[in-house]
Each structure stands twice: as C-alpha cells, then as structure tokens.
Symmetry: none
Subunit: 289 residues, 2 copies
DNA sequence: CGGAACCTGCGTCGATTCGTGCGTCGATTA
DNA sequence: TAATCGACGCACGAATCGACGCAGGTTCCG
C-alpha cells in the first residue's frame, strides 16, 4: 500500500494538525508539496511528509515554527547528523513547556514522551517536575478551567507524565518510606514525582495511588511499619488533619509523619506532624532514612 | 455449486452495481478478475467476488472508494501463514501468578515489577497478559469481592501492571489506531495491554485513558482521523452501542470501528462494527494498518 | 511593567477541482 | 445475436482551494 501521494486532508490527519494549517505552512513558510500549481489540489509525497514530520518534531520541542520550517526546508535530503539540539536546556525551560503543551494539544503521545524523558535526563526529576511538568500541567489545567474544553488533553498529559515518572530507574532495597494520597484525593502526580525524585536519589519508596481507603492505609502501615509516611492532599476538602493523627497514633508509629500538598491547613497541623513545602525539601528530609 | 466463473453482468447483478462500474473498478483500482487479458470477456471467480464484496461493504460503510479498493486488494493475499500458535515450551504460568499475588499482598512493588518484567520478556506482552497479569488481577479482585478488604493490594497491583505495560518499547511512527475507553468506563488495563501488545508488534497507537468525555473523543477522532478505533467496555452499564455508531458516523469514518471487552452486547452490535474477542485476534486484525 | 505589534494555528466562505458511478458508442467476443 | 469490450464523457457530491479574520500567545519597546 504505497500511496505515493497523500491528499491534503489525509496528510493533515496523519500528522494530527488541521488541513488549514498545512495550507498556512505552505504559503507562509513555503513548506508544502514539492510540485504544486496554484489552484490545483496539493499532493504530498513521502518526501514531503518527512519534511512535515521534521517541522512537527521541532515545534514539539519548542522551536519557533518559522525557524522550524526553515530548518525542515533545508533538510531536502534524508538522514543527516540530526538537529543541532535546540536546547540550551538547563537555563531555559520555556521551550520545553511550550513544546509539551503543544504536543498535548495535538494529542501527540510520542512527542510528549520524548520531551519528558529528555527533561528528566537533562534536569533530573526535581528539575523536570518543577520546570517542565508542573508548569505544563498548570497551563493545560488553566486552559481547561477557562474554556471547559480539552479535558482529554489534560488526561493525556497526566498519563504521559505518570509514565515518564514511572520509567525512572527504581532504587533497590527495602522501602521504609510510604507515600500515600489522602482519602478521596484523586490527584497523585506530585506524589509520583516525589517517588521518582527519591528513587533517583537512591531512596526506595512504597507508592500508594489514589483511592486507598483510610482503614486500608492504616492496616498497611501497621503491617509494613515504615519509618516515614507522607500524606498528600491537593484540595482543602481532602486535607483533614485527623488522618494525620491517626497515622501518628498507630501502634508502632513511624518516625516521621509528613503532610504535603496545598490541601492541608497552613499552620494548624497537629503536633508531631512535619509539613513538607517543596519537592527539594521533601527529598532532603526523606533521603536520610 | 461450483460456479466456475461469473460473467461480468452476473457479477454486477449479484452485487447490485452497474456493469460499467465493475469495469471502472478494474481499470481505476486494479480490482478485477485475477486472470483477464485485454479485449476478452471478464470472468469473476469466487475469490474475485469476495474481494468485490469487501469493496462493496466498505464503500457502503462510507469508506472512500479508493481506500476501500486498496484495502480489498490488500486482503487479496489469500491465507496468511496463519498464526502458528507460538507456544513453545513456556514455563508454567502458575508460579508466576502465585508469586505476583503474594508480592501484591506483601505490597512489595519491586517484586511485582520484577515478576512482570520477566513475564513480558519470556512470554511477550500477549502471553504475559493472558497467563500472568489477568489471572493475578482476577485472583486479587475476587479476594476483594469476598472479603471487602485489600483494596490497596488491588490498586497497587494495577499500578504495577500499568507501569510494566507502559515500559514496553513504544513503536515509532505516526499512530493510525486509536484506543479509548467507553464513557464512564474506569477499567483500562486491558486497553493498556492491547496498546503494549501492538507496540511490541511494531504498531504505533494512540491510547486514550479513562475519563475522556464522549464529545472530546469524537472531536479527537475527527481531528486525527485514525484508520481504526477500538472502544473498550468492561461493564455492561458502559457498553452502549450508540457510542459505536457515533464513532462510525463521524465525517471521516475509520476503516474499522471495533468493540472490545465484556461490556458490549453479545450479538446486537450495529452494522459495520467489528467485535474483538481476544488480545490475539485484536493484534492480528489491527497490525495490518 | 504595560501596551502595541506581531506570530501562529485554525475556523469560515464562496469558488474550483477531483473522485466516482454510470450511460453511450462503435468494435469485438462468445 | 446478445453480451461484453475499451474509451469517452457527464453529473454530482465531497474535498480542497485561496483569502480573510479571529483568538491566544509572544516579542518588542517605551
């Protein structure tokens, strides 16, 4: 099935962009079918498609479209030493965030994966989370709040982040730290980031996802007797301090019981409870175990 | 009834199209009698007829004729070597299942990861899912049903399976297959298994998790125009056939709209919907794209 | 730091081009 | 003699065309 000429719509569909965008790219940047006379329909050959894919990949990395197009055009022939890594990285996370949100809007899972893995490789888990993942999640979240659309974008991005964090090499050893979400709490991405960050610091953990009933959590704590327990709460509705004291008062209490996340009250935490305010702080405290 | 070979008029009558249309199909798409020399009369064999029927069914479902013809022709390759049931002396899955459920009860994530990775390595994704993961999930699920305890075990196991499946090397290329959960459906592990199995077979996919509103899904399908869409439903409450027809009737309908999972009705599926009954069947059908 | 200019993806509109099924015609086949 | 052949053409709906404009975001500049 070597369709040697894709129609405009087919090409757009294959790339996950709108048809009009292809036309725009053509007339604005000259990035179109190699042979095309005005008025007639465009036919995208395999070569054309590979140029479009370069364009798409570069923009997914946060390169400005005009620049990406120029670069894609200069790549008439296939296979060369690859793009000059348009990432001053370390210093400027903005392109990565932009590329990530763009890939998410396009529902482009592979591109998201790529960006996320690169971010983790280059910045470490903590840097990737604070500079790239969290900002992108906030951008997409706010866009949803504002428009009430694009939920699927949000979910897909969450999933990509989850996968990227889960792919971090797990630390060996018996976990003595337990990470759990507060009752009813659905958001656990920050917890997963914490787990990944600790893993990267060589600290093994036990990560409990959402939807673990309080009693089951207490049972599990009693059974495994962790040295530290971190409870995450995103929304105030789930940040009931009673949960913390129940953990603290378990038969063989953990040395540290920590409350993390914006859902907990600012100051009124019960005695014996540690407040964790940032990823860095959390990793610093918990890697002593 | 060994109809040696149908004449052009007979074939046309049998299909309900004009004779000239058959000739057009032949010269435009190459979809004609397998043996035919120019100037002589066409004779359609049973094989030819079945190809024509594929053509007709697809066009009746709204697939563009050119595409339908290409598809019908690709099916021409009669009798693929057949799935030779790749089951060379695999190790007995029972120990793995037992080990996995035990590790889950122990909340021992590293051990679960280990078992799962080994299973995937030794049995491939399909084998690992059907022989190890699914059975273990069923065991744990039944244990929860019976005792109303150990939810956390179930969640932890689910998460470990998700991670293991997500770790399978993703296939490169632009995905033309979309996997999604039915509305309100929360269970997506089987979908993740399908995605991983396809990835292992070199087929890129777009996996939509749960909680994607139906309208958003339709938008995404319209925007990306996948060649195939698989909708998963675990519970009958979520298996409403209307969802399938809505996908089928989208502007650029996918060539294949498939219903997978036990939630869909046994027989009463709308026309043009493919029922997928097993992982193997699904991979076999979908890897042709 | 705030506002204006600019960039960019994409929806919309009326006009045009294409894909497609099928009728017609003179010649050929069965 | 009836059916079919290849070639040609037509009608109609779908897809696409170029032009334009809008909305969000970014960059620039005072």
């Amino acid at each position: 099935m070597a369709d040697e000429a894709l129609t405009a719509g087919a090409a757009a569909r294959r790339l996950g962009v709108a048809v009009t965008t292809l036309r725009t790219w053509h007339q604005r940047y000259g990035l179109g079918p190699s042979r095309h006379e005005s008025g007639h329909h465009r036919r995208y050959t395999a070569d054309d498609m590979s140029r479009l894919q370069i364009m798409q990949r570069l923009t997914a990395e946060g390169v400005a479209p005009a620049e990406a197009a120029a670069w894609a055009l200069s790549q008439a022939a296939p296979e060369q030493p690859g793009p000059p890594d348009p990432r001053p990285a370390r210093t400027d996370p903005a392109p990565a965030v932009r590329g990530l949100t763009r890939a998410a809007m396009r529902l482009d899972a592979p591109a998201m994966r790529d960006t996320l893995c690169t971010a983790i490789r280059e910045r470490g888990v903590i840097g990737a989370w604070t500079d790239v993942m969290a900002p992108a999640l906030i951008v997409v979240g706010e866009r949803y709040e504002a428009t009430r659309r694009f939920v699927e974008v949000e979910h897909l991005l969450s999933r990509a982040v989850t996968e990227a964090l889960a792919a971090v090499e797990h630390a060996a050893g018996i976990p003595r730290i337990m990470l759990a979400a507060a009752d009813e709490e659905q958001h656990t991405l920050p917890l997963e980031a914490l787990a990944a960050a600790l893993a990267q610091a060589g600290v093994p953990t036990r990560l409990f996802g959402a939807r673990v009933p309080p009693q089951a959590l207490l049972d599990a704590i009693a059974r495994t007797g962790p040295a530290a327990v971190v409870l995450w709460s995103q929304r105030p509705a789930t940040g009931l301090p009673a949960q913390l004291t129940r953990v603290r008062d378990v038969p063989h209490p953990p040395v540290v019981v920590a409350a993390a996340g914006p859902g907990w009250p600012e100051d009124d935490l019960p005695p014996g409870i540690t407040r964790l305010k940032s990823l860095t702080e959390a990793v610093g405290l918990l890697s002593d175990f």
